[in-house]
C-alpha cells in the first residue's frame, strides 16, 4: 500500500525532470498511473467483502510512538476507488482540456501529489500521518486553485482556501494530539479497540470533538466556513471536478466517518453534525438559485451535498450510514459528470454563463447525454442510483433521533433545490434553440467527452443493479462505521410508502420550479447585496483588522530601540519568575551556615554600595569609570576574603586594564549625556530595583537549599594524583578542562583581532559624517 501512495509522489518528482516529454502528446499517458492504482485497489474488494482489514505498518519515529501504519477497510476502499477512478478520468480529460498549456507538466505534478496525499489520508492508520497527508492535500489544492497565477482573483481564492483549510489543519493537529492524550495511542485501530466509555467519559472528550469538527467543517466547506469552495472554482475545471467536488472536500466527511465508531454516539457529536449539516445544506442550496455561472451553481450544490452527508452521519443509525455511503457514490458520479460537461462547454464555447447557453444538444450531443443522465441522477429520478440515494436519505431522516419532522421538511426542500441546480447545470445548456453565436461549437477530443459518459453510465448501471455495490462497497463502509451491515438491502423499488410520496413531491415541485424560475443576473445582484453580512466578508474584515493589529504590535514591540527590548524582556522575566516565587519562597535560611560579618567586610560592603551608586548617578563620565573600577576592586577584596586568590588576581588585573582602556579611549568623547526625562528614569529605576531584588531573593533561596560538591570533590581529590598540580583551580582550567580554555583563548584572540581591526580602520572621507 505504501508503494501505491508513493507512486504519485514519485511521478511528481519524475515530472520535474521529464516534464517536457509529458507536456507533448504523451500527456494522456499519465492517466495510466491512477488507472493502475484503481485496478490495484479493485483487487482488494473480495478480501474486504469477507470483512477483513488489510494492514501494513512501518516504523517511522518509534520513540514518539509514530508508526507509518496503513489500514484498508471498507471506508478506505470506497474513497481509494473514488480517488483513483475519478482521478483516472480527470487525468485523461486534462490532457485535452489543458492541451499544450505551458505548465501542463506542473499541473500533472500537483494533481499526482494531491492524489498521493489523498490516498495517504484515507489509508493512514496513524493520526499523525493522517494529519500530514491532510495538510498535503490543502497545499496541493492551494497550488491547483492558483494555477492561473496571472489572475488576481485566482491567487486570492487560493489564499482564502489555504487560509481556511490551513486553519482546519491546525484544528486537526490539536485534535489528534488531544485524542492521543486521551487514548494513549496514535493508532486509529488501537483507539477502536479501546472501550468507548473510557474515551467518551474523559474530561477532554468535548475538546477533542470540537477540534476534530473544526478540521472537518473547514475542509468539507460547512457553514460558516463554506465560502472558500465557490472561490476555489477559479481553478481549471478538472481540479474542481477532482478536488473540490469528488475527493478533497470529502476528506472532512471521511474524518467524521472514521471517528464515528471512536467518538460518535454522544449527544454533542450527533446534534452538532445534524445542525451544522442541515444549516449548510439549506443555506447553500438556496444560494445555488442565485448563480448564473454554471460552476457557481455546481459549487453551491456541492456544499449542499456535503451538508447532507454531515447531516446523515450525524444521525448515527445504520440506515443513515447506508444512505451516506450510497450518497457519496451518487454525488461523486453525478457531480463529477456535471463538472466535466461544464468544463467541456466552457472549453468549447468560452462561456459558462447559464443565461446565454442553450440548445447545445445540436452540437455537443454525447456531452448532452452524459449531462442529462447526471441531472436525472442528481434529481433522484429512477432508474438512476440518485433515486436510491434519495430514498435512503428520506428513510433515514424520517427515523432521525431528534426533531424528525422538521428535518424531513428541511431535507425535502434541499432536495428540491438541488434538483433545480442539477437541471440548470445538466439540462438547461442543452435545451431550447441554439443561438447564432454558438453555431460553430465543435465536439472536443474523445478523451474529454468519454469520461463524463462513463460516469453517467455508471450512475445508470448502479441504479439498475444496486447489488453490484451493495456487498462490495456499501456493507463494508457501514460496518466500518459501526452499523449493522446485515440489515442492508439495496433495491430500486421500495414499495408505495411515505418515502415514495415524498420522492414524487420532490420531483414534481422541483421540476415545476425549474420551469418557473430561470437563473438570471438580476437575482445574482439581488443576493449580492447581502454579501456584506456573509461569513466571507466578515472573514475579510477580520483579516484587515488582523493586519492592523500586527502592524500595531510590530510598532510597539519591535521598534528597534534596544532599551525597549531589554525593558520588555526584564519586565516579563520579573513577572514570570516573581509569580513562581510568590508562595514558594520560604526565607528559612539556617543562621548556622551563615558566616559572621567582620568589621573590614562591612567596610568593603559600604564602599562597594557607595561606588555602585556613584557609578550610576554621577554626571561625569570619568568619575563613573573610576567608580566602576572601585566596584571591581572591592569585588577583588571579596575574593581575597573568601579563599579565591586566583580570582582576586585575575579580577585585579582585568579591572585595572578595563579602567585604563576606558580612560584612554573615552577622554576625547563629548560631555556625558543625560538625555532621558525624569519619568523615564523613575520607571527604569523601579524596574531595575525590582529585578535586583528578585535576584537577591533568588540567591538567598538557593542558599537555603543543600549544596552538591560532588564535582568539586572529584577535582580536588584527583588534582595532584592525576594531574600533578596543587592549585586545583589552575588544574581545572589548564588540565581537566584544557580544551575549553583553549577555545576561550581563541575567543579572546578573535576579540583582539576585532579591536585591532577597528583601531586600524581608516575610513574614506565620504564615509564620515561631516
Amino acid at each position: 500500500m505504501i508503494s501505491a501512495i508513493l507512486l504519485g509522489f514519485l511521478f511528481a518528482i519524475l515530472l520535474v525532470f521529464a516534464g517536457k516529454f509529458f507536456k507533448g502528446k504523451f500527456a494522456v499517458l499519465s492517466s495510466l498511473i491512477p488507472l493502475g492504482l484503481f485496478v490495484y485497489f479493485l483487487q482488494f474488494i473480495p478480501e474486504i467483502m469477507e470483512g477483513n482489514v488489510v494492514k501494513e505498518s512501518y516504523n517511522w519515529v518509534p520513540s514518539f510512538g509514530v508508526n507509518l501504519g496503513f489500514t484498508l477497510d471498507g471506508l478506505s476502499l470506497l474513497f481509494c476507488l473514488m480517488i483513483t477512478g475519478i482521478g483516472f478520468l480527470v487525468f485523461a480529460y486534462t490532457s485535452v482540456y489543458l492541451h499544450h498549456h505551458k505548465y501542463l507538466d506542473r499541473f500533472y505534478g500537483y494533481l499526482s501529489v494531491f492524489m498521493a496525499a489523498m490516498l495517504g489520508l484515507v489509508l493512514s492508520d496513524n493520526v499523525i500521518s493522517l494529519f500530514t497527508f491532510w495538510e498535503l492535500t490543502s497545499i496541493s489544492s492551494f497550488f491547483l486553485i492558483g494555477f492561473n497565477n496571472t489572475q488576481e482573483a485566482s491567487r486570492k481564492s487560493a489564499l482564502t482556501a489555504l487560509g481556511i483549510t490551513g486553519l482546519g489543519g491546525m484544528f486537526l493537529l490539536a485534535g489528534v494530539i488531544v485524542l492521543g492524550n486521551i487514548t494513549g495511542t496514535f493508532s486509529i485501530a488501537e483507539m477502536l479497540n479501546m472501550s468507548p466509555e473510557l474515551i467518551k467519559g474523559h474530561e477532554y472528550y468535548t475538546v477533542a470533538v470540537i477540534l476534530l469538527f473544526g478540521a472537518a467543517f473547514t475542509k468539507s466547506a460547512q457553514f460558516p466556513f463554506h465560502f472558500w469552495l465557490p472561490g476555489a472554482m477559479k481553478a481549471p475545471t478538472p481540479v474542481s471536478t477532482y478536488l473540490h467536488s469528488a475527493t478533497m472536500v470529502k476528506a472532512g466527511i471521511y474524518l467524521v466517518m472514521r471517528f464515528t465508531p471512536v467518538l460518535g454516539g454522544e449527544e454533542i457529536w450527533n446534534t452538532t453534525l445534524i445542525v451544522v449539516g442541515a444549516v449548510t445544506m439549506l443555506y447553500s442550496a438556496f444560494h445555488s438559485l442565485f448563480r448564473t455561472d454554471l460552476k457557481g451553481v455546481l459549487a453551491y450544490s456541492t456544499i449542499s451535498a456535503l451538508g447532507i452527508l454531515m447531516f446523515l452521519i450525524g444521525m448515527g443509525t445504520t440506515e443513515s450510514f447506508t444512505a451516506a455511503a450510497v450518497f457519496i457514490i451518487v454525488h461523486a458520479l453525478y457531480k463529477a459528470t456535471l463538472f466535466l460537461t461544464t468544463g467541456i462547454i466552457d472549453h468549447q464555447t468560452g462561456t459558462r454563463d447559464v443565461t446565454v447557453l442553450s440548445g447545445l444538444r445540436k452540437v455537443l450531443m454525447p456531452v448532452g447525454i452524459a449531462a442529462i443522465i447526471a441531472a436525472i441522477s442528481s434529481a433522484g429520478i429512477p432508474p438512476t442510483i440518485g433515486f436510491l440515494g434519495k430514498e435512503l436519505t428520506y428513510e433515514a431522516t424520517m427515523h432521525a433521533p431528534i426533531i424528525a419532522t422538521l428535518l424531513v421538511v428541511g431535507i425535502v426542500i434541499t432536495k428540491i433545490l438541488l434538483l433545480w441546480a442539477g437541471f440548470v447545470a445538466g439540462i438547461k445548456p442543452f435545451q431550447g434553440s441554439l443561438p447564432e453565436s454558438l453555431k460553430d461549437t465543435k465536439m472536443p477530443g474523445p478523451f474529454m467527452w468519454v469520461p463524463p459518459i462513463l460516469l453517467a453510465v455508471l450512475s445508470l448501471v448502479f441504479g439498475i443493479m444496486p447489488f453490484i455495490i451493495e456487498g462490495s462497497l456499501i456493507k463494508p463502509v457501514v460496518s466500518a462505521l459501526g452499523g449493522e451491515s446485515g440489515e442492508i438491502h439495496l433495491a430500486l423499488w421500495h414499495g408505495f410508502n411515505t418515502v415514495f410520496i415524498l420522492s414524487l413531491v420532490t420531483i414534481a415541485v422541483g421540476t415545476t420550479l425549474y420551469f418557473v424560475l430561470k437563473p438570471s443576473a438580476k437575482l445574482e445582484t439581488a443576493v449580492g447585496k447581502l454579501e456584506a453580512a456573509s461569513p466571507k466578508s466578515l472573514m475579510e474584515k477580520f483579516n484587515v483588522g488582523f493586519t492592523y493589529l500586527s502592524s500595531f504590535w510590530t510598532r510597539v514591540f519591535q521598534n528597534g530601540y534596544l532599551r525597549n527590548y531589554v525593558f520588555i524582556i526584564i519586565f516579563f522575566l520579573i513577572g514570570m519568575v516573581g509569580y513562581t516565587m510568590i508562595g514558594n519562597t520560604k526565607f528559612n535560611i539556617d543562621p548556622s551556615i551563615l558566616s559572621n560579618v567582620s568589621f573590614y567586610e562591612l567596610v568593603v560592603f559600604i564602599i562597594m554600595c557607595i561606588a555602585i551608586l556613584f557609578t550610576v548617578f554621577t554626571s561625569s563620565r570619568l568619575s563613573a569609570v573610576v567608580a566602576m573600577g572601585v566596584v571591581g576592586l572591592t569585588i577583588c577584596l571579596v575574593f581575597v576574603f573568601y579563599s579565591a586568590p586566583d580570582l582576586a588576581m585575575t579580577q585585579f588585573s582585568i579591572d585595572t586594564l578595563t579602567v585604563i582602556l576606558f580612560v584612554l579611549v573615552l577622554y576625547r568623547l563629548p560631555r556625558y549625556l543625560k538625555i532621558q526625562d525624569h519619568k523615564m528614569r523613575i520607571r527604569d529605576g523601579i524596574l531595575s530595583l525590582m529585578f535586583g531584588g528578585l535576584i537577591a531573593v533568588l540567591a538567598l533561596e538557593v542558599l537555603s537549599e543543600p549544596v552538591n560538591t560532588e564535582i568539586g570533590d572529584f577535582y580536588a581529590e584527583n588534582s595532584y594524583i592525576m594531574a600533578h598540580g596543587k592549585n586545583v583551580v589552575n588544574v581545572i582550567l589548564v588540565d581537566f578542562r584544557g580544551a575549553d580554555t583553549m577555545i576561550e583563548i581563541s575567543v579572546l584572540t578573535i576579540a583582539a583581532i576585532g579591536v585591532f581591526g577597528l583601531l586600524k580602520l581608516r575610513l574614506k572621507r565620504t564615509d564620515r559624517v561631516q
Partner: protein, 117 residues
C-alpha cells in the same frame, strides 16, 4: 555575610539593568560591566563561600587534609572574567569607532542601518 553579599548582587544587577536602559552608549557598556560583575559574584555566592581555605593542596601532601573552598565556581568565574574582558574591550573600541563615524553617543540616533539617515 551571605545576606550582605546577596544584597550586593541585587544592587549590581539593578544598577547594571538601569544603565543598560539609558540612551548613552558609554552607559550601556558600564551597565554591561556592572551586570557581569554581579553575575560573577552571584556564582561565587551560590558556590558557598568559605573563609581562608583556598583550594590549594598543602606542601608535602597529595590530597587535602582539611576542608577547602569549592574550586568549580572559581574556575567558572575565572573564565567569565577573562571572556568579559574580551567583550568589554571590543565594545569600548567599537564605541570609540562609532563615535568617530557618526559623532554621537545617543543610541536613538544610531538605530538606522541606512546611510541616508
Amino acid at each position: 555575610m551571605e545576606i550582605l553579599l546577596a544584597i550586593l548582587v541585587g544592587l549590581l544587577y539593578a544598577s547594571g539593568i538601569y544603565m543598560i536602559l539609558r540612551r548613552s552608549l558609554v552607559k550601556l557598556i558600564i551597565g554591561i560591566i556592572l551586570l557581569g560583575n554581579g553575575a560573577n559574584l552571584l556564582i561565587f555566592l551560590l558556590g558557598r563561600i568559605t573563609k581562608g581555605l583556598p583550594p590549594i593542596i598543602p606542601e608535602n601532601s597529595k590530597v587535602f587534609l582539611e576542608a577547602y573552598a569549592d574550586p568549580v565556581p572559581q574556575a567558572l568565574i575565572l573564565t567569565a572574567i577573562v571572556i568579559s574582558f574580551g567583550l568589554q574591550s571590543f565594545a569600548i573600541i567599537l564605541v570609540k569607532r562609532a563615535h568617530k563615524v557618526v559623532r554621537t553617543d545617543d543610541l536613538d540616533e544610531m538605530n538606522a542601518t541606512d546611510e541616508d539617515s
